[in-house]
Symmetry: C2
Subunit: 685 residues, 2 copies
């Protein structure tokens, strides 16, 4: 109905090209319009970001409910610009009225470090006399400075330099040959780059020097592998084909597949954003999530020696998961029939740019969906599942993050993340003690301990916006063994704790109770179980934030202090470490802690529009097999419908094979309903 209405509106307005869906990212044309309007009013500024200013939820919900009569939410853009002198401006542009509606100087913040910002550091570093001097000290002659490289990182926060000067720290490396992996040759000092003046303003030099490693290169690109004996020859091809095409339908950016409907958005910061996720339950289109995204992450490193404490990248808030996204390619990143979507951004000069194939949408076989055999007569059913995967991959300097939003036919949403790429490395001398803060993964290469902590933002809409979050623990029943209530000691049950306030909702993972969290609609009970309909968060890779309470990372990454936070919905609360993350001191902590403080930690989150923030991830103690490039390490979590449906919602998926007891008795062994379905090769041998 929403889509119909958009088409009608289009027709009324201009007869042809549809207006964007309110959740659609800005088009290049819209970005160009925004830039022109800002330029016109505010002159020559550098653009840091231009993106969709998401529709206010109240307007959007009204329109989603009544697309025929409710007004289409206004189309607007948010702008971050840096004026000469480094002044940061936050602006809003109304794209319907074609005017800048807000333009404010935001002092004391640093917006995202863009790819363009990163690109310019290496050139400056190579020219800097003090860097050249340091290189000389550790054994790199002046004429080899073109072999010196750096991965520029945000500085995190360094109290010596504060927030006002826009800075990057340059993690230094060397390449003997342009095709060698630089991570085998980390340098021991760290220049600080001033992005405004394009100068190196300081170099952190360690008390113990570590001369350039003389180890042989440790490479992964094909030429090196060919030299070492070449590639293995014993892998026969696996072809995955969909001759009849995909099973999903795209209308603009809304995908419909196997009862799911999802709007696929994308922004420079979070990458993929999924909106208005609904499930068609036998004709009843039931809302499930208003919005799902990876909203933030932090990667703290565990070496306490100065200046390694500065290595704790907020890859989304400091660089942008969208900005760093890869252009994907068929057969390399995904297999099968792929639908790609591009992503549009602005560059510093105000031109719109495109990353081709930023998002990959495809289906995969999901193995057995359900199966049962009756032991009496071998009557049986076996049905294969299918999954829909919406993915993107971004490269954060050395690491890559592969993000897979997976929709299952049974109503489950799965978020898979694969970590690959290259370890961040630091120099070490022969025989030097890592003190347990890292691992020597190759001679002279110290890969420091680190965590990857992701913050999943879930805006539930489980049969409506008024939801309540419960913590669920598997616990033993009361009574001692031998007592009347527990004679055999076998009682256990699901202990549910309602989160009435944000304070109560600050909760940690408990593996000993297999803790899960439910986003429930307490206004709607399952007719059979009499329990509230809900979606359950099942997440098992949930390490605590290891940097200590009160320390730098703890202050800056407030969202990571607990596995789960719950807040009352507010339109502008998207980024749990704050809107502008680089160079925040954490005093006071931005984002989640500030919002909770301001709303009141004891305010009600019961049966209202809530947002659940889930921090999960893993702790990585490197080892040599992770080097020189890491085999992908997987991580997963599930959002599962519980007491949401009245029965298994996939019973109508055509089985691969089935035979009923009466068919067995009658000597029939095939199933009419499954012939010609599936892959055509299904048979009992």
């Amino acid at each position: 109905m929403v889509l119909d209405r958009l088409q009608q509106l289009t027709h009324q307005v201009n007869g042809s090209s549809p207006p964007p869906h309110p959740f659609d990212p800005l088009s290049t044309a819209e970005i160009d319009t925004v830039v022109a309007l800002v330029r016109n009013e505010h002159g020559k500024v550098n653009f840091n970001a231009v993106g969709l200013f998401e529709p206010r939820k109240a307007e959007m919900m009204a329109w989603l409910e009544n697309p025929q009569t409710a007004p289409l939410p206004a189309r607007a853009a948010e702008v971050v610009a840096i004026a000469p002198g480094g002044k940061v401006y936050d602006g809003l542009v109304d794209l319907d009225q074609k005017k800048v509606t807000q333009w404010q100087h935001t002092p004391g913040v640093q917006p995202i470090i863009t790819m363009e910002d990163l690109q310019e550091v290496e050139h400056v570093v190579r020219q800097d006399p003090k860097v050249i001097e340091q290189c000389g000290i550790i054994g790199i002659p002046r004429e080899d400075m073109h072999k010196v490289y750096c991965d520029p990182w945000t500085i995190g926060y360094d109290e010596r330099f504060g927030t006002d000067i826009r800075l990057q720290q340059a993690l230094m490396y060397y390449r003997p040959h342009v095709d060698d992996s630089q991570y085998t040759y980390p340098l021991d000092f760290c220049p600080i780059f001033n992005a405004e003046t394009k100068q190196i303003i300081h170099i952190d030099v360690p008390p113990i020097r570590r001369p350039l490693s003389k180890a042989a290169p440790n490479n992964y690109l094909p030429a090196a592998i060919e030299k070492e004996g070449g590639f293995r020859q014993d892998l026969k091809p696996i072809h995955i084909t969909q001759p009849e095409g995909v099973s999903f339908k795209m209308t603009g950016r809304v995908i419909e597949w196997q009862n799911w409907s999802i709007h696929v958005g994308f922004n420079y910061r979070e990458g993929i954003v999924l909106n208005n996720i609904t499930f068609n339950d036998r004709g009843d289109v039931r809302p499930v999530f208003y919005r799902l995204s990876l909203a933030e992450m932090v990667v703290p490193y565990g070496n306490p020696e100065h200046p390694h404490q500065r290595k704790h990248a907020f890859d989304l808030g400091e660089y942008g998961g969208g900005y760093m996204t890869n252009s994907l390619s068929l057969g390399c990143d995904c297999k099968g029939a792929i639908h790609y979507m591009d992503a549009a951004f602005v560059n510093r000069a105000g031109a719109s740019t495109i990353v081709k194939n930023a998002i990959c949408i495809h289906e995969e076989d999901a193995g057995i969906l359900f199966k049962h055999t009756d032991f009496r007569d071998e009557s049986m059913v076996v049905t294969r599942g299918r999954k829909l995967i919406i993915s993107h991959i971004f490269t954060a300097a050395n690491y890559e993050y592969c993000v897979y939003w997976i929709f299952h036919q049974d109503g489950t949403v799965q978020l898979d993340i694969k970590l690959t790429g290259i370890l961040n490395t630091y120099a070490m001398n022969p025989g030097e003690d890592t003190h347990g803060w890292g691992t020597e993964v190759y001679p002279g290469v110290n890969a420091h301990n680190h965590q990857h902590l992701f913050c999943l933002r879930v805006d539930p809409n489980v049969d409506g916006p008024n939801n309540t979050v419960f913590q669920v623990d598997a616990v033993r029943g009361p009574g001692e063994v031998g007592s009347p209530e527990s004679k055999y000691g076998n009682a256990f049950y699901a202990q549910k704790t309602k989160f009435s306030t944000p304070r109560e909702a600050m909760s940690d993972y408990d593996g000993s109770t297999s803790r899960t969290w439910e986003m429930a609609n307490t206004n709607k009970l399952n007719p059979y179980s009499k329990k509230p309909v809900c979606y359950k968060l099942v997440s098992r890779e949930v390490p605590p934030l290891l940097p200590k309470e009160g320390g730098l990372v703890w202050k800056r990454a407030g969202f990571a202090r607990h596995a789960v936070h719950v807040t009352k919905y507010s339109d502008d609360q998207i980024h749990p470490a704050g809107r502008h993350v680089p160079q925040t001191s954490g005093e006071p902590s931005q984002g989640l802690p500030a919002w909770i403080e301001s709303a009141g930690p004891d305010s009600s989150i019961d049966n209202t529009d809530v947002v659940l923030w889930h921090t999960f991830g893993l702790t990585h103690f490197p080892s040599p097999e992770d080097y020189p490039i890491m085999p992908a390490e997987p991580m997963t979590l599930l959002l599962r419908p519980r007491n949401f449906f009245t029965r298994n919602p996939v019973l109508d998926v055509p089985p691969s094979f089935a035979r009923s007891p009466s068919q067995v008795a009658a000597g029939k062994s095939s199933c009419s309903s499954c012939s010609g379905k599936g892959d055509g090769s299904s048979r009992l041998v």
Copy 2:
């Protein structure tokens, strides 16, 4: 070399058919020989099990190390038989010498309940006057007794009846029509069946009666789905093909694939057994595991009301995961190019039987194996992974367990289990309170809370048999924030605790430290990291045993008291709940607790031949979407090489796409080494 030697021996012995590999399961011919030898000496007994008596490890290791000179281990069978009068005999048969070498009466035990044992109960139940009477009381007329069904279970342990009488409990159901799911109509009483006399010796009748449900059927077989509107029509086929065949090679039951070599065994109890798992590390064939199997499981139910405490099936020890295994079919259970293996058993009468396609071996695409893009110039590599999957599926009355042993190219072994099938159900009256011990998943259907706890037996052989197990916790470094040693509070490290004794090794999962366990060879350090080579157990679905300490399940399932136990290797310690599990009282506890007691809880397990026992699984609080048949619920764990290799062992897997910095600079954008590899469709769009 082992395989060459077997072929040589074959040739010497008989010129043609090879002698079995010492790890091979018994052939039907061998089973027939065993039965004939036993019959000849001991007359007419009923056979409960005939299986491979596994070679003693010392002999086997000697032969594996020197197949040219060491003697081939003796070929022997273990036999369990039940003589008239219910006397249980444990025997051994030497297949080389063709003689029964051991035959002993084992009093006070009950061996596995076989499929044949299960099959005969329903018929008896339907005829029993007291059962007919009970059916009448809850509303089933005598003429409908053919609509009464039962799932016979082992009785667990019931102190009223003890161990001496061989019993089954009959969980009762009703089918209005032969093709209806009986689980919608559970009956409220429970007959006890004497397997020796074939009589119902007792009926447990609850204090509150629950008349037969009048709810409409809730079915999943095709005819019912067709009646409700039919199957969805919108799934387009996905074809997975391997036109050049598989990438693995089978020599007998030894599979070689991507540097792995694995002997694939199978027995009536554990199902798949993997032996002598090695990894060819650039020419060096390194042992990794001597033996891997799922050795036991227990499924305790959480309802303390009598007689539900008896529902705690040891599906492997009480029924046999091999005995209950499904015959698999192409395109239904697995897709692609499949290699199947059959399984041979004995039946009660002593005839050998075959389950066709008991084991499925196939490859799957595994998505991205590794990827990295250099942000400077978009030089990059992306390589896809492949996995090898060795699987079987078994049906334990209502549930199915799909077991997938997955081998990755990077040295990781993954165990995936999918749970599907049907919930065990019990009757409830309209409006009856479940007291939290279960969920009403459909009117009149109470599905009780339960756990699925599996015991993975790992016999590590990490660069040799002498291994040591460490517990590894991710913990914060010392010092308060602000102190010299922890100024910013960001220090963290891997705290390793050596298990020197079985007592120390009784360890639980700790989610708050992301606890893992390492099986290390402390005699061999990684040349770079200087840490012992090891395999790490990474397992996150590790609930504690919820039945209480001292209670019935706790006593019987000693293995489930801790996430990890470690014992010194002993040839006959395979089954952690004991050799004969049905009707054990747990006083004293069999299996692991007994072995640890007998070896001495403070004896050394440091740098010796050890076995690690890992209990993992999940706690299931049913909900209506699990009914009338459960969408598969997945579970996974990893065994990962750490400090085992000196570098990423998959660098020589042909990339899908790669371009080096110098290729980018020269304007070349393709990679010679990957053309024609992969699926042929790989390209940058």
